[in-house]
């Protein structure tokens, strides 16, 4: 575990270098432990692939005190038992109007649309982070056979529920939004509901499978 200061209000807790299961598990343990504890002065804990970003309220704590506290807790969070993850199936309509970039993915990969669907829906993905927009999951790892680069210029608007792929990740746009990923399908499942806790369908660490609908 490395603790680095980031700006005046950020603390990066780095729990590994690569995107792998061991790193993910450490991030999840650290995130759950520190969130449950409710440490005064911490305003946000944002878990991602290999680190957590902690935001602090400087009226209530400081970098030095908090990093000492976090170092002292390492044995505790490493030893905690982890709750089960949710497993969630997301029905997707692939291709056609729902997946305007399917042709690009096929020509880039040399695969047919059926093969792309089979590969994309044949794997399980982990929620490595939620961000960009509320409820947007960064899911991985994507099969190398359907690797595609991001859009050079983001598309100005994709509909709510668009399912995209880029590099070795896949994700779902919870709202109509600009998009830099290649859109291959759409789901009618609602990923974010601001009126009802816990607001986001998915949580950090959940396992997602796409089902052709």
């Amino acid at each position: 575990m490395d603790i680095e200061r980031f700006g005046e209000q950020g603390i990066r807790v780095i729990l590994g270098q690569a995107i792998d299961d061991a790193t993910h598990e450490s991030v999840r343990r650290f995130f759950l432990y520190t969130s449950l504890l409710g440490i005064p002065g911490i305003t946000e804990i944002i878990p991602s692939f290999r680190s957590c970003l902690i935001c602090i309220d400087r009226e209530r704590t400081c970098f030095e005190d908090l990093s000492e506290l976090l170092k002292g807790m390492e044995d505790d969070w490493r030893g905690m038992s982890l709750p089960d993850v949710q497993r969630i199936e997301i029905p997707v309509r692939y291709g056609g109007d729902y997946g305007p970039d399917m042709d690009f993915v096929c020509s880039y990969s040399g695969l047919s649309p059926e093969e792309v669907v089979e590969i994309h829906s044949g794997a399980v993905y982990r929620v490595h982070a939620l961000g960009f927009m509320p409820g947007f999951p960064y899911l991985g790892p994507l099969d190398r056979r359907i690797y595609v680069p991001r859009q050079e210029t983001p598309v100005l608007k994709v509909p709510q529920g668009s399912v995209g792929i880029a590099q070795l990740q896949t994700g779902i746009y919870p709202f109509e939004s600009p998009a830099g990923w290649r859109i291959i399908g759409r789901t009618m499942v609602r990923l974010f509901d601001h009126l009802h806790p816990p607001f986001s369908l998915l949580s950090f660490g959940d396992i997602v499978r796409f089902v052709p609908a």
């Binding site: 700006g7 990066r12 946000e44 991602s48 935001c55 939620l130 961000g131 960009f132 816990p198 607001f199």
Partner: protein
């Protein structure tokens, strides 16, 4: 009650921001100029966490349907109440039926309006601020439109009609000097290209493009050069308001208050003391970046905070 006769270019209800949901990607969406917002609330005597209105653009027109006091702070504007010029950064008393008009924004980008009552909107996830992109919070999750009626609760007269002294009103004239602290991926860049990060006396000049909104400010200038052996993106990770990210094209983007995670190299973070200045940058303005260390940034932040609380207590 207030009736919107014309909402200007963009008027939204904001507050100090949504907090504690960063792990599910929910950004703060807070008021961008916190000094101007705090002063507006102080002038009309409402709580520190009460919502107010953040406005961009000319020709805001409001009809004030009940007798109350209001204040306009932030960007320098030319405003009239029932045809009479009024003084910004001051508490102003309006009679029932009074019509307020902001004719022109002279300097800066965003101005703030607070009333001597609490804007009655339903909080979402603990905050009354508007998330424009996801259309929730604030006034029905959207900007104010012609014909909207905003209800105010607990209208009361503030203790006196105060005016903020000139010394407490920041200049918003360009070029904007923005001080930054070196970021986690600063070493991805060729030292020659980011000399301003290593040497205190160096600065670098950019221009704000028209790609400027509450999510971020895209700058243009001499593109920043990545080191040959450095990655052009990072494994996506958390961002702070004010984080300066650099996409592969070398043109920096300053994040404001609508993103929690990013995938571009984080060159630097804007000092908290200069965050309010970011809110007032207009498209085309010159932006000068210079670097300071964290200790200096903290001193500046503390000085600003102390000045504000000293002023607000003294009255």
């Amino acid at each position: 009650m207030i009736e919107v006769l014309s909402p200007g270019f963009l008027s939204i209800v904001v507050d100090r921001g949504r907090q504690g949901y960063g792990h599910i990607g929910v950004p703060s969406s807070r008021e961008l100029d916190r000094h101007a917002s705090a002063m507006a609330r102080y002038l009309v005597g409402i709580p520190e966490d009460a919502p107010l209105i953040e406005i961009m653009g000319n020709d805001l027109r409001l009809r004030i349907l009940e007798e109350m006091t209001f204040a306009i702070t932030g960007a320098r504007v030319k405003a009239v109440l029932d045809g009479e010029p009024l003084r910004p950064w001051s508490a102003v008393h309006a009679k029932k039926g009074g019509v307020l008009r902001v004719a022109e924004v002279l300097e800066g980008l965003r101005y703030y309006m607070a009333f001597s009552g609490v804007i009655d909107v339903e909080p979402v996830m603990g905050s009354s601020t508007t998330n424009l992109e996801c259309t929730f919070g604030g006034f029905h999750g959207r900007p104010l439109m012609k014909g909207d009626r905003i209800t105010l609760r607990d209208i009361r007269e503030p203790v006196g009609l105060l005016t903020v002294p000139e010394t407490m009103i920041p200049s918003m004239r360009e070029p904007h000097l923005i001080r930054v602290i070196s970021g986690p991926e600063a070493d991805y860049f060729s030292p020659g290209s980011v000399r301003f990060l290593a040497r205190r006396k160096e600065t670098v000049l950019f221009k704000a493009t028209s790609r400027l909104n509450r999510t971020g400010i895209r700058l243009e200038g001499e593109p920043l050069m990545f080191r040959d052996d450095a990655e052009r993106s990072i494994i996506s990770e958390g961002l702070l308001p004010g984080t300066i990210q650099v996409p592969p094209d070398g043109h920096p983007i300053i994040a404001l208050a609508e993103r929690t995670v990013g995938g571009y190299a984080r060159l630097a973070t804007v000092a908290d003391a200069d965050m309010d200045a970011l809110a007032q940058i207009r498209p085309g303005d010159r932006v000068v970046l210079s670097s300071i260390d964290i200790a200096e940034a903290e001193r500046l932040w503390r000085a600003g905070r102390d000045a504000l609380s000293f002023y607000c207590k003294k009255q």
